[in-house]
């Protein structure tokens, strides 16, 4: 069942990238936040840093009361952070079946087999992928892969859920359908949910809070509805065109 501990994810970091500096100081509470910005603006780097896959130059990151990063002294490894991460292209393990992919995180956390089987089965059911249980990822469509990746990330009951361009791998015809399904599914999870996209249309579909990042800097942080009409930058202006 969805968790509702509602711990906020706070992040105040700086990290030098190739062309610019990523500077972010925000808190994410339960619910979906869409992080949008042009390609190469540091969105993915922000997610990776929050998940512990990259280290910031300076700053701190906390999940609820728990400090997971105070650069450079404290760095809690990704495996200890409890972040569910859906990667771009989904990063499913090609040598494992759908069931084994979804069970992977439960094995890592040494969940006993009976409970593991029960939770995996329930999650496959919930995401309508139970018939694919024995398939290998290469046999699946992009939309099916996305669900498996989502199931794999959610089954560990994460403290937060990160989705990096979850719709980019889909063709135009399936994208709007999958987007609607994803929006419906994610509203059931009362954890900080960060969805990165370069497409303002995704911000529209998820409706809630939108964080706009350009060249490593947050240039807008507001509900979707109030972003329409902004003309501060060319990218922001595209919100009004939709």
């Amino acid at each position: 069942m969805p968790r509702s501990d509602g711990a906020a994810f706070t992040v105040a970091i700086r990290k030098t990238l190739r062309d610019f500096e990523l500077r972010v100081d925000v808190a994410f509470t339960s619910g979906v936040t869409v992080i949008v910005g042009p390609s190469g603006s540091g969105k993915t780097m922000l997610l990776r840093t929050m998940a512990g896959l990259e280290r910031p130059d300076v700053g701190h990151i906390a999940i609820g009361e728990r400090l997971v990063e105070r650069a450079p002294q404290i760095h809690v490894a990704p495996k200890e952070r409890g972040v569910g991460f859906v990667f771009q292209d989904y990063a499913l393990f090609p040598h494992l079946s759908v069931t084994e992919n979804v069970a992977y995180g439960l094995c890592a956390h040494r969940i006993p087999k009976p409970e593991r089987d029960r939770r995996v089965a329930a999650m496959l059911e919930r995401l309508d992928i139970a018939p694919l249980a024995r398939e290998r990822p290469r046999k699946l469509s992009s939309g099916q892969r996305q669900r498996v990746a989502l199931a794999r990330a959610l089954v560990i009951e994460p403290q937060a859920l990160f989705l990096d361009e979850p719709l980019a791998a889909l063709d135009v015809l399936t994208r709007s359908r999958v987007r609607a399904e994803l929006a419906r599914l994610l509203t059931g999870y009362l954890i900080p949910t960060l969805l990165v996209s370069h497409d303002p249309a995704d911000a529209a579909a998820f409706g809630g809070r939108v964080l706009v990042i350009e060249r490593g800097t947050v240039i807008a942080d507001a509900p979707y509805s109030s972003l329409r009409g902004s003309t501060q930058t060319a990218f922001l202006a595209t919100f009004s065109e939709m």
């Binding site: 896959l53 771009q88 292209d89 990063a91 393990f93 040598h95 992977y104 890592a108 560990i156």
Partner: protein
Amino acid sequence: MGRGAAVFASALLVAFIAIPVLALALRTDPATFVRSVASEGARTALLLSLVTTTITLALALFLGTPLAHLLARSEFAGKRIVDAVVDLPIVLPPAVAGLALLVAFGRRGLLGPALAGGGIQLSFTTTAVVLAQLFVAVPFYIRAARAGFSGVEPTLEDASATLGYGAFGTFVRVTVPLALPSLIGGAVLTWARALGEFGATIMFAGNLPGVSQTVPLAVYLGLESGDVEGAVALSLVLVAVSMIVLAIVKSLQR
């Protein structure tokens, strides 16, 4: 070039390689072959080859796997130098490798006195056989393993990390299974190269039956001492093993 000429050149070259191997088989008959292979000297050489190449392979896997992973995944100062050093034995003539090992680890070599101080003598021992094999053969494993590790998507390792495994758990559960065909291919090639090792072994370990006389050295000694039947029989064993190795490597490449 015309098609006819190409076919002729190809046929010539294939025949050139196949005929000597075939000649080996035609040189003996089943009874002589069995008698020669079962002889005391041949059995001693076969056993020594089996033992030394197994140890060499184990060392190559144990020491070569971390190095290959480092070369595939990390950037560090001097990486190009490490890379060149590791590849060097592939192009170095084996006799030169043997001499180099001797002047480094031999009794009067660079490190000889230091080793002798610790009561260790390497040259002309079975240990020397293993070291000579490792020197010439380990690059094949490192190269293959490195290519295998490089082929594993880093985001798969990231996914494993976010799902709860540390570096070692991820390596065992994701990286190794996905690189496995390359690892096995490299291991087989390394073992085959160690089995065929001759030049470096005879320079560094000598040709002592039961101590350093592996199968290739026994073939050489057999020919020298007039036991052509014995040399042919042992050679045929190596031919058979080589064909099996080739079959394994080919099946992994598919």
